[in-house]
């Protein structure tokens, strides 16, 4: 059986925990509870066992802790489509990732696609294309593209 460690990274409150929980346990909660440190979950994509590290988001008090990334084969970069700054911050976050574990495969989740004040345009996501990342408009709330997101990462990892 194949086993892979992947990490969810992105700014705080973009939906890393929600996407993980939707994917792993098929649940969603509107209530926001800040993740402290890291929570580790497992799930399967076909016959690959994923060990998903839901890492505390980058926030005003602390940068993401790069130690958590050690040993990861892939990264899910998560941003919030209703908060432009979280899209732009991906660039910085990627530098942290790259510095610690190198250019591992990654996919991007533009999350909260179910919300109305969606602010994404091509200019903001141009960087994702440059990097060759598959990008998904996801919703942890209604489940849109959640499975596709993780499946894409698994096939990128190979």
């Amino acid at each position: 059986m194949l086993k892979k460690k992947i990490c969810m990274v992105g700014d705080f409150s973009v939906g890393k925990t929600s996407l993980t929980q939707k994917f792993v346990n098929n649940v969603f909660s509107e209530k926001y509870l800040t993740t402290i440190g890291v929570k580790i979950d497992t799930a399967f994509v076909n016959d690959t066992k994923l060990i998903v590290w839901d890492v505390a988001g980058r926030d005003s008090l602390s940068p993401i802790n790069a130690s958590y990334l050690v040993g990861a084969s892939g990264i899910v970069l998560v941003c919030d489509g209703t908060r432009q700054s979280t899209v732009l911050d991906i660039k910085d976050i990627w530098q942290v990732v790259k510095k610690r574990i190198g250019e591992v495969p990654a996919v991007v989740a533009l999350n909260k696609s179910d919300l109305e004040d969606w602010h994404i345009d091509a200019q903001q996501t141009a960087y994702f294309e440059e990097q060759g990342w598959q990008t998904f408009e996801t919703s942890a709330k209604d489940g849109q593209n959640v499975k596709a997101l993780f499946e894409a990462l698994v096939s990128e990892i190979g």
């Binding site: 409150s13 926001y32 800040t34 402290i36 890291v38 060990i51 050690v70 084969s73």
Partner: protein, 514 residues
């Protein structure tokens, strides 16, 4: 020995305090040692010989050579733990200690901080939306103002159009009336004289309504002009009474006029503005009163004219009293026709004449409107018939006017008095005539085809032709008058012009030239 046991004791204490657990793996990640209390954190199956990759979730992907700190990892028990990987020679020790207290504290702090930041972001977003919204509102406002300006200029335009034919109606009926009066000295034509009088009064009423519309366009721009002059108050009030009596008669209500003075009562005031106010106030009172009476009172004291209009109509509620002076406002349930401009304009005019319009009313108890304006009294001399007062001076007059009805009327009235009048219907012809012939006086319209009155004045200045020119204009706008005066016109008359005014000015001009 004592030392060793103390050290052991301390170690034991710390171990328990930190809830320290551990295991060791060799370089192939096989467990070679493990503490028993690992199960307290939910790590089960961590036994010698097992593979750490399989039985401890955070171990997958890590290696046995790298030192690593993983703070606040959620263990299978739900408790937060701190994990330290300490490589040593040929094996790796993994220390696990409780981080619950720290995590709880951190949770509180972080939650607050993040929520705050989200709130700030939300606020910024809302502010932006608000800014956008207010920008849009501003645009809307500009559009509305433009629309209102267009409406106003449309109203003014239309009323101008009305004013010219009305002026000619009033002038011609005057001529017909005079003809009838002189033809029927015996009283044989008295019926017709009466009918013509009625036509005249209605036309004047219509003219005053049109004037209201014209004035409305000027309400905001301070262009309503008040020009006090000698006026016989008694005559003015009698006129107004005659004008409005048919309206009250038509509704079978009493129209009572109580004047505190007798004819003649000469004061200085703007007679046409005062007339406009009275017509507006009385017109309203009669319009809204279906039974009972409308009473007009006027008295003079210490050079002030005090006017009151009292009706027995339905009255006005407190709520509506506040709105009643707004333009176009009409109580929705009255079902009465009108422009709804009268009161707004009257209030403004009264203000310009130095007074204040006061309204008091109560539902079911009628309405009282009153104002007091300065009206300095002159010694009342018996007033001679105007035309007799004006001396006749032989004069050759050029009339430039593109409206033929108005032109005919003026030509007729001036010829009747013995003047020689030539008429042209545009500015160019007027200029030609003045270049080639000698005239004593020019009466000229502003708005004419080919060359406007302004153009002609300008050319006359250039060519040094000094024939005195009186401008006739439908525009009471002060800037238009200033422009004409700057271009050297002798005087500026506002249409409809009174023939006696024309003659008076002409006499003055001729005297000055002599």
């Amino acid at each position: 020995m004592v030392e060793t046991s103390l050290q052991q004791h301390i170690n034991q204490q710390l171990f328990e305090k930190l809830e320290l657990a551990y295991f060791c793996v060799d370089q192939s990640m096989q467990i070679i040692d493990a503490s028993e209390n690992l199960e307290n954190y939910g790590y089960t199956g961590v036994v010698v010989g097992a593979n750490a990759d399989d039985c401890v979730d955070f171990m997958f992907g890590l290696d046995a050579y790298t030192e690593l700190d993983l703070p606040m990892v959620e263990s299978p028990s739900g408790k937060k733990v701190s994990v330290s990987l300490l490589p040593r020679d040929s094996f790796l020790t993994v220390l696990i200690s409780s981080a619950s207290a720290e995590a709880d504290q951190r949770q509180l702090l972080q939650q607050k901080a993040n929520e705050n930041e989200l709130l700030v972001e939300q606020q910024i977003k809302l502010m932006k939306q608000l800014e956008n919204a207010s920008e849009m509102l501003e645009q809307k406002n500009v559009q509305l103002e433009e629309a209102s300006r267009l409406q106003t200029s449309f109203l003014s335009g239309v009323s101008h159009e009305f004013r010219t034919p009305l002026t000619s109606i009033i002038g011609y009926t005057n001529l017909v009336k005079q003809a009838l009066q002189s033809a029927g000295d015996d009283g044989s034509e008295s019926d017709k004289v009466q009918h013509i009088g009625a036509v005249q009064r209605s036309s004047k009423h219509l003219l005053s309504l049109v004037e209201n519309l014209l004035d409305h366009g000027k309400l905001d721009s301070d262009e309503i002009i008040v020009r006090p002059k000698e006026t016989d108050l008694a005559e003015l009030f009698n006129d107004v009474e005659l004008l409005l009596k048919p309206l009250s008669d038509g509704k079978h209500i009493d129209f009572i006029v109580e004047l505190g003075f007798e004819q003649p009562m000469i004061v200085v005031t703007d007679d046409s503005r005062l007339r406009q106010c009275l017509i507006n106030l009385l017109g309203n009172a009669i319009k809204f009163t279906d039974s009972g009476s409308v009473r007009l009172t006027a008295k003079l004291s210490d050079d002030f004219l005090k006017v009151g209009v009292f009706d027995t109509g339905p009255g006005i509620s407190q709520e509506n009293l506040a709105k009643i002076k707004l333009p176009f406002w009409q109580a929705a349930d009255t079902g009465k026709a009108g422009t709804g401009l009268g009161l707004t304009i009257t209030e403004r005019i009264v203000e310009l004449m130095g007074g204040e319009l006061e309204i008091s009313s109560e539902l079911g108890c009628g309405t009282q409107v009153s104002f007091e304006i300065p009206a300095p009294q002159l010694d009342a001399e018996p007033k001679p018939v105007e035309s007799q007062m004006l001396p006749f001076k032989q004069a050759k007059i050029l009339l430039a006017e593109d409206d033929y009805d108005i032109a005919d009327l003026i030509v007729m009235m001036l010829s009747e008095r013995g003047y020689e009048v030539s008429h042209v219907d545009n500015g160019e012809l007027a200029l030609n005539a003045l270049e080639n012939q000698e005239f004593d006086f020019v009466l000229m319209d502003i708005h004419m085809p080919i060359m406007t009155g302004y153009d002609v004045l300008r050319e006359l200045q250039v060519k040094g032709i000094k024939t005195p020119v009186a401008i006739m204009s439908a525009s009471a706008v002060e800037s238009d008058r200033a422009k004409a005066e700057q271009l050297g016109c002798f005087d500026y008359l506002i249409k409809p012009v009174e023939i006696d005014d024309v003659i008076r000015i002409m006499n003055l001009a001729i005297d000055q030239r002599a």
